[in-house]
Symmetry: C2
Subunit: 383 residues, 2 copies
């Protein structure tokens, strides 16, 4: 095989494909990028066996400056290929595979020889033969992921919780995640495909897949999603991201969400974030990472301490207070991440008692669960 | 003690003092910053026992918005103090030490209480009672450090080589460093103090001191330097950096520098840097980090290889070639750093033979040793 391509374009595509490649893989060939050269263009593939990314570079798109002399395929070491192509002296490169799989990359006065592996040894990607294609606007998808990714567990002991649970039904997408200490839920409208109307689709997408996907998609691009039994394929323009789905029945989380409360406050999310960030400077130093919130009609105090370093008290200015006095302790990192997921808006927080999880919703939409963060408190000796 | 100060000013000074503080210190009080409040201003001190930084913040400078209510001194945990002050809500803060050494920091609705240590327990800085003050322009000093710091050894086994050897005499400053694999030398003019004319001063300054100093000084500032037997004090405006000197007699390195050669080339430093950077992508993968340079009237080739990954050949365009054909092998990282220290100019490289160290000088000044890099080659089975 042999082709010539614009170097800067090739660098960008290699970078995107590399996102799927893990340095910790135990399967040697998956440390490589597969380059398949067809008559019409070239396909780059990278995979860590959970996620695979495939990019098609067309000869027809003149900006690629792609000319193909000979078809074929090869697997080349991903990191070196990326480093080499990034540093080549000219804005064009020629890649040629010789009979012995030695691959020659030329650009200006530089000649690299890399030991390749036959493309035929690379695992084949799953075939996605789905009935329906769901279309999600990139900006909306990113917001859903940013809101829910914080509650995804990183404990492999319960694999199901390392992903986000998606329910696509009734012209809406509902995304839920929980690590059993906190829970995030986001519901957005969705145009369902004709053939899926009246049906519901439930899948569990690994958190890592969602993170990579947000990096690959621009705000103004659409994501096409196709689902089979245990795989999902996302298509963004000429980029295809395949991912394994997480198996298992996600628990019913709706029963955790209730609008009941004994104490309810309204706060400016930004102001509270800053107070939490100051309080956690000290709480991070203690054995337990805990801050305390004391609420009453007269005052609202957030406090943190470390027996070695000292303590901090933050007087909060609430936008409103309703109900009983309350003292409640919790992990400040959870509250910080939850508040940040709301952006700059006012947030309503509902508390039942010091041992019951509390719920954050936007004040604009406080009686809906379209955008919820739930946090479980920490029992302290005082409670 | 008690004072009020503009927060942003205080943050900047704390950051600078923190440069002297090591997280690996075994002396607990040196994890703290000493704050001493006088009638006229406050002094911040940080130290790792090799380097100490002292900053004076004057009441007279109105931009400090400093008002002093009570004098005294305290030592506060450095990292927390920095983190806290950075995040306080208002642009003013009040710091007050209570009778029990509890220190209260207030800003807006935030109140921090930190456990302090008495200022009297902090080690006193050495007294520098020097006869002469040398003045060095900041931009010149930075160039000297950047040129020589690359050859400073990081092996504590020969402490003397972890510093740069400075000789101040005859209206010039000569700086030399070597880790025994390479050597850097830079000579710049220096206005000697009246009382030092005709005398010579030789000192060994730790590399770490020089690195911190380049971070503290702006190009258009002057550095005042005062030296005693085993200490040096650098003064930049209101910042004082004290450093221990390295003891021992630096070896005579002049005998290593010779203009003799059998092969001499002139190259564009930038072009050669890029070729070296490509070659080392592969040489870094081998057991030995080696590249080979083959020089003849007909062509100049730089090559690198890794038995696992492959090999690279770079054809160089020399600006001139003189003398015998040569094949020589060396560590590409050394050549890269040496070339970078010259910036964008043309460089002359003199070789004697494949086992003799080679010398780089700027082509503008090729017969002087005002700006030299020397690199020892690596013997390979072929040589």
């Amino acid at each position: 095989m042999k082709f010539t391509i614009k170097r800067s374009i090739f660098v960008d595509h290699l970078n995107n494909v590399q996102r799927a490649i893990s340095s910790r893989t135990t399967i040697p060939i998956l440390t490589g990028i597969k380059i398949a050269v067809l008559d019409s263009g070239i396909i780059l593939t990278g995979s860590d066996s959970t996620i695979s990314i495939e990019i098609y570079i067309s000869k027809e798109d003149e900006s690629n400056q792609l000319s193909i002399a000979e078809t074929g395929s090869i697997v080349l070491p991903s990191r070196f290929l990326g480093d080499i192509v990034k540093k080549l002296p000219e804005d064009q490169l020629t890649l040629e595979v010789q009979d012995n799989l030695q691959t020659v990359i030329r650009s200006g006065e530089s000649v690299f020889n890399l030991n390749g592996t036959a493309g035929s040894e690379y695992p084949t990607l799953p075939e996605i033969d789905a009935d329906s294609t769901y279309v999600l606007p990139g900006h909306l998808f990113k917001r859903v992921v940013n809101h829910t990714i914080i509650s995804v567990s990183n404990q492999q002991i319960r694999p199901l919780f390392t992903g986000v649970h998606f329910i696509l039904a009734d012209e809406q997408l509902k995304a839920v995640s929980t690590d059993s200490h906190r829970l995030s839920q986001r519901i957005v409208p969705l145009t369902m495909p004709e053939e899926s109307r009246g049906k519901a689709l439930e899948i569990n997408i690994p958190g890592q897949t969602l993170t990579e996907l947000t990096r690959l998609v621009d705000d103004n691009e659409d994501i096409e999603m196709m689902v089979t039994d245990n795989q999902v394929l996302f298509k963004i323009d000429n980029v295809y991201l395949y991912s394994r789905l997480l198996e298992g029945n996600y628990p019913d989380t709706d029963r955790l969400l209730s609008l009941d409360y004994n104490t309810k406050i309204k706060v400016d999310a930004q102001e509270l974030v800053h107070a939490v960030e100051r309080a956690l400077i000290l709480s991070h130093q203690g054995k337990n990472n805990v801050v305390k919130l004391s609420l009453s009609q007269e005052e609202a105090i957030l406090s943190g301490h470390s027996s070695e370093i000292g303590y901090v008290k933050e007087r909060l200015s609430l936008l409103s207070f309703e109900g009983d006095d309350l003292e409640i302790s919790f992990n400040p990192d959870y509250l910080r991440e939850a508040l940040r997921s709301f952006g700059g808006q006012d947030v309503v927080i509902r508390f039942v008692n010091p041992t019951h999880s509390f719920i954050l919703t936007p004040s604009e939409d406080e009686d809906e669960f379209n955008m919820v963060q739930l946090i479980t408190p920490i029992r302290t000796p005082g409670n």
